[in-house]
């Protein structure tokens, strides 16, 4: 029987498939569709210290091979996530999750991380320093290596769980950022967040989403994600969680070859609510086709192939 399990920071995931932050809510609603205990883990919707409504509508625009979103980190705030959302999730999910934290200032990040990392259900915290949809925050931390390094260091001081830093693809050289957050003390790196993109209305010539630009995700970003994961694997020693346009078990295997220790599925969950489950169900068959017995064996294989 094929072995799908992978290990992240000493925690064992039954498989490497994790729904990506922002595309799976706080998880429990998907348990109406299938038993979410089949998932490797779950990345929670991006959480900030205070509750946020996010950006005005429209927040969504379609693209030929994906979508643009400008949700703007709508969330009920860190306290409510721990006290309400995670309680609801604990009723339907036995595993542990990854909390995803966004912010505008070092202080805000630190405080939000302190709150969410206290929850027993959280086995790692993912620091979103790459959200293109929040004014004056997010992305700025994700484009300058020194700023990213300092933020990581400050947050790490107040976080007793493994800290994953999520990188933006909207930079000239993502490896600079990766090296910086590793020096800053990150335990893992996740990438990619969304690419900056936009769409215009053919009738009015106006931007479709309210914030003009937004974050582009879906199958169209896959080759970009793969390249960045491959490059970051070369320059860092900490585990990488890969994502960006994954829509099949084959994509998962290719991303693990490139260097991902686990793989997040984002936009595909929105197109097909059963996507993450289907990918997990397909994995053994596809592994067999390519002669893979143990999924964890293939992490980074492209680099020695």
């Amino acid at each position: 029987m094929s072995n799908l399990s992978v290990s992240l920071f000493g925690y064992t995931l039954k498989n490497p498939i994790i729904p990506a932050s922002g595309t799976f809510g706080f998880g429990y609603e998907f348990s109406e569709y299938y038993d979410i205990n089949c998932l490797g883990s779950i990345a929670l919707k991006g959480t900030t210290l205070e509750p946020r409504y996010g950006n005005p509508l429209p927040r969504i625009a379609e693209c030929p091979a994906g979508m643009i979103n400008a949700i703007g980190l709508q969330n009920p705030g860190a306290e409510a996530v721990v006290n309400d959302e995670l309680i609801k999730l604990s009723k339907v999910y036995e595993g542990k999750v990854i909390a995803n934290v966004g912010g505008h200032s070092v202080d805000e990040y630190v405080k939000a991380v302190e709150i969410v990392s206290k929850s027993d259900m959280v086995f790692a915290v993912e620091l979103n320093i790459s959200c293109p949809n929040v004014k004056g925050g997010g992305l700025a931390f994700g484009t300058d290596p020194k700023t990213a390094e300092n933020l990581t260091r400050e947050v790490k001081k107040h976080c007793d769980k493994p800290l994953i830093v999520k990188l933006s693809p909207n930079v000239t050289d993502v490896t600079e950022l990766a090296k910086a957050v590793e020096i800053g003390g990150a335990d893992g790196i996740s990438l990619i967040n969304t690419l900056l993109g936009m769409r215009l209305c053919l009738k009015t010539a106006k931007p479709i989403i309210s914030t003009i630009k937004g974050g582009y995700s879906g199958i169209g970003v896959y080759p970009v994600a793969l390249k960045m994961i491959y490059d970051v694997y070369k320059v860092t020693k900490i585990p990488i969680i890969g994502m960006g346009g994954v829509s099949s078990a084959e994509n998962v295997i290719e991303m693990m070859y490139a260097g991902a220790s686990a793989v997040m599925v984002g936009t595909q969950n929105l197109i097909d609510p059963y996507a993450s489950k289907k990918i997990i169900d397909d994995l053994p068959k596809v592994m067999e086709r390519y002669g893979i017995e143990k999924l964890s064996d293939i992490i980074g294989r492209a680099h020695n192939a």
Binding site: Y33, P58, R59, I60, A61, M67, L270, P273
Partner: protein, 242 residues
């Protein structure tokens, strides 16, 4: 929510740029006001449409050609199978009031057909205002006329009341203890001018249609709510327009 492959029974024009598509194979009874999402070949996101009617396992939707997706839909042939999500959203509250006024503008008329039938089954008498730019764009008027009292309103006066649906509603609201409305955003917004409250069915650009992405959240007096999950039907009074 249910993922269902439905078969196209028919897909015919019923007015200018407006089509009715009948799909069969639905396992569940949809509530009036609920919507379905159709996956179209070559398009990333599903297209949401209100259920315009249901008869056994047959669901119909009425759609207007707006962009590339709905244009592609007009090419879909009888017998083709479509991947859909059904039973989406909350639906209208059928016990909202005793003497309801129905108000439909433009394509918003479509979901009211199914609602009207459901209310009729409850024994209620149905008065409905149907509004459009002009007579030719007023859809489904014959179908409604069979079992409802129809009050047409056209911007150009080519049929019935000359003016918009809200203006007409203001002249008759005293006779009703509530309303159900669906139509363009400006119409729904202006319904606050009525002294009675009612339910409105809203639209938003959707990422998922089943509550996962927060792409469709609106502000309400009860905090933010998702058009696709807590909606698309809301009390007019709870919606906070920006």
């Amino acid at each position: 929510m249910r993922e269902e492959v439905l078969k196209v029974i028919s897909n015919e024009p019923i007015a200018k740029d407006t089509y009715k598509m009948v799909l069969c194979g639905a396992a569940e009874k949809q509530k009036a006001g609920q919507f379905v999402e159709i996956k179209l070949d070559g398009f990333t996101l599903r297209r949401p449409f209100c259920v315009a009617d249901q008869d056994g396992d047959r669901i119909s939707v009425v759609y207007k050609v707006l962009g590339a997706g709905t244009r592609a839909m007009t090419e879909i042939k009888e017998g083709e199978e479509l991947n859909t999500l059904t039973s989406l959203g909350n639906g209208f509250n059928l016990t909202l009031c005793d003497r309801p006024l129905l108000i439909g503008g433009g394509l918003g008329i479509a979901p009211l057909l199914y609602l009207a039938k459901e209310l009729k089954r409850q024994g209620k008498s149905i008065d409905i205002i149907l509004g459009a730019k002009n007579k030719d764009e007023l859809i489904l008027i014959d179908e409604f006329s069979k079992f409802c009292n129809v009050y047409p309103a056209t911007d150009d006066g080519s049929l019935g009341f000359k003016g918009n649906t809200v203006a007409l509603a203001l002249t008759v609201e005293g006779d009703y203890d509530g309303y159900y409305a669906c139509g363009p955003e400006i119409m729904l917004k202006n319904l606050s001018k009525l002294s009675i409250d009612g339910e409105i069915s809203m639209e938003a650009r959707m990422g998922c249609g089943f509550g996962a992405c927060m792409g469709c959240s609106i502000k309400t007096t009860g905090g933010y709510k998702r058009v696709c999950k807590e909606g698309p039907v809301f009390m007019r009074s709870e919606v906070l327009y920006e």
